[in-house]
């Protein structure tokens, strides 16, 4: 009987360990991305300036998806960002605009999405045309200095 209790407790311990490992993989490092159903939309940016994969996609500050892939488009030479939007957010019109924003002063980059006015909605594989690149401090300072010299 005692041996039985030991076995059950050890089984419980090992199962706890496996569950902890899975939770670390899924919810902490986001390796599987969770089970929520999503659809993919794409956008092109001339500069992503520090945006990373798994960064959040928000609308009015509320998370509606996340960035799942970032690659360089070999023909247009701009960054192609793949976003997975939660399937229950199916009311984004096709002329929505996206913008790369920074959370707080030191926080990470995220994508802000603003819906447009068209009746046609974004669906799997749609491309968002209206995109605004990341705010890069060096470029801004460069422009400012250039204007100063011009004066």
């Amino acid at each position: 009987m005692h041996a039985r209790v030991t076995e059950v407790m050890v089984g419980f311990f090992v199962v706890c360990g496996i569950l902890a490992g899975l939770a670390l993989a899924v919810s902490v490092s986001g390796i599987a991305g969770g089970s929520k159903e999503t659809y993919k939309v794409y956008a092109y940016f001339s500069n992503i300036g520090g945006l990373t994969e798994k960064a959040e996609v928000t609308m009015a500050g509320v998370q509606i998806g996340k960035v799942t892939n970032i690659s360089l488009d070999p023909k247009r030479l701009v960054a192609k960002v793949e976003m997975s939007i939660f399937a229950d957010v199916d009311f984004l019109s096709i002329d929505s605009s996206v913008q790369i924003l920074t959370s707080g002063l030191l926080g990470g980059k995220y994508i802000g999405l603003a819906s447009g006015a068209e009746d046609e909605m974004l669906k799997e594989g749609s491309v968002i045309v209206d995109s605004q690149s990341a705010f890069v401090l060096e470029e801004l300072i460069g422009k400012f200095l250039f204007n100063k010299v011009g004066e």
């Binding site: 311990f13 902890a20 670390l24 990373t52 707080g104 990470g108």
Partner: protein
């Protein structure tokens, strides 16, 4: 004058030879216990018993410490980050510090105090009451019967305990910062997920835990085997186990961190 120089030189020599001999003996114990491993059926039972006394009984203290450390990290991180308006990053801070450092190190320190000392005392008492000698007399190898299951139990327990510590801590941090302090949960988790990499962070943390488990059980078992068979000797051996394991954990943690994250 000359004699005292020779005497101190001899002292250094004796000390080095003692330490080297001790390390050699400890390696022989380890080698015999691990390499000679043919009796799977009986030994599986013994390992399960060790998993119970080393792992299951440490579960509560590890989970409770993990919860409180995660909650403190959440609270401290929030109060600092809110000054810069980047309190969303608190998830990243909590998760990275737990997964990379605190989970393996604190779990190992707790494990050394909770399980390592018990291992040394148990084996030391077995030696003092001549149970180890009796086992040898009836033809059972004490290294195989007593030491090997404890070593395996320690290796298997530590990574499991460390993972449990990490995940409980992350949820403790989430509880404080999301539920109580009002950090937006979407940013909390997505900033964390974009910062934590499974291979670079989580797996390296688990590797650290395995190394620590190996070192702690090795030290504990060897100190038990080599203890002076008196009540005082066992007390000293137990103290040495905790002191040596803690020092080794902290020193090895620096070396492993430098190798894994230091960019060498």
């Amino acid at each position: 004058m000359f004699n005292s120089v020779v005497e101190s030189l001899a002292g250094v020599g004796r000390f080095s030879i003692d330490k080297l001999a001790g390390f050699g003996k400890a390696s022989i114990v380890l080698f015999h216990a691990l390499v000679v491993w043919p009796q799977f059926r009986t030994n599986t039972r013994l390992v399960i018993n060790q998993l119970y006394s080393l792992g299951v009984k440490s579960l509560l203290i590890v989970a409770v410490s993990g919860l409180f450390i995660g909650m403190v990290l959440g609270l401290q991180g929030y109060t600092i980050l809110v000054d810069f308006g980047s309190e969303q990053s608190v998830g990243q801070m909590v998760a990275l510090s737990l997964v990379r450092e605190l989970a393996p190190v604190v779990t190992a320190l707790l494990f050394a105090g909770r399980a390592g000392s018990a291992l040394t005392a148990e084996i030391g008492l077995m030696k003092a009451t001549e149970q180890l000698a009796s086992l040898e007399m009836i033809g059972v190898d004490p290294l195989r019967r007593i030491v090997a299951p404890r070593l395996w139990g320690g290796f298997i327990c530590m990574p499991i305990l460390s993972m449990i510590f990490a995940i409980v801590g992350v949820y403790g941090g989430a509880l404080v910062s999301v539920e109580w302090l009002g950090v937006y949960s979407g940013s909390f988790w997505s900033v964390m997920q974009s910062a934590v990499d499974f291979y670079d962070d989580v797996l390296n943390g688990i590797i650290k835990a395995i190394v620590f488990g190996f070192v702690i059980t090795w030290i504990a078992v060897y100190q038990g085997m080599e203890s002076v068979p008196t009540s005082e000797g066992i007390a000293q051996a137990t103290t040495r186990t905790v002191v040596y394991s803690s020092l080794m954990i902290l020193a090895l943690d620096f070396v492993l961190t430098a190798l894994m994250f230091g960019g060498f």
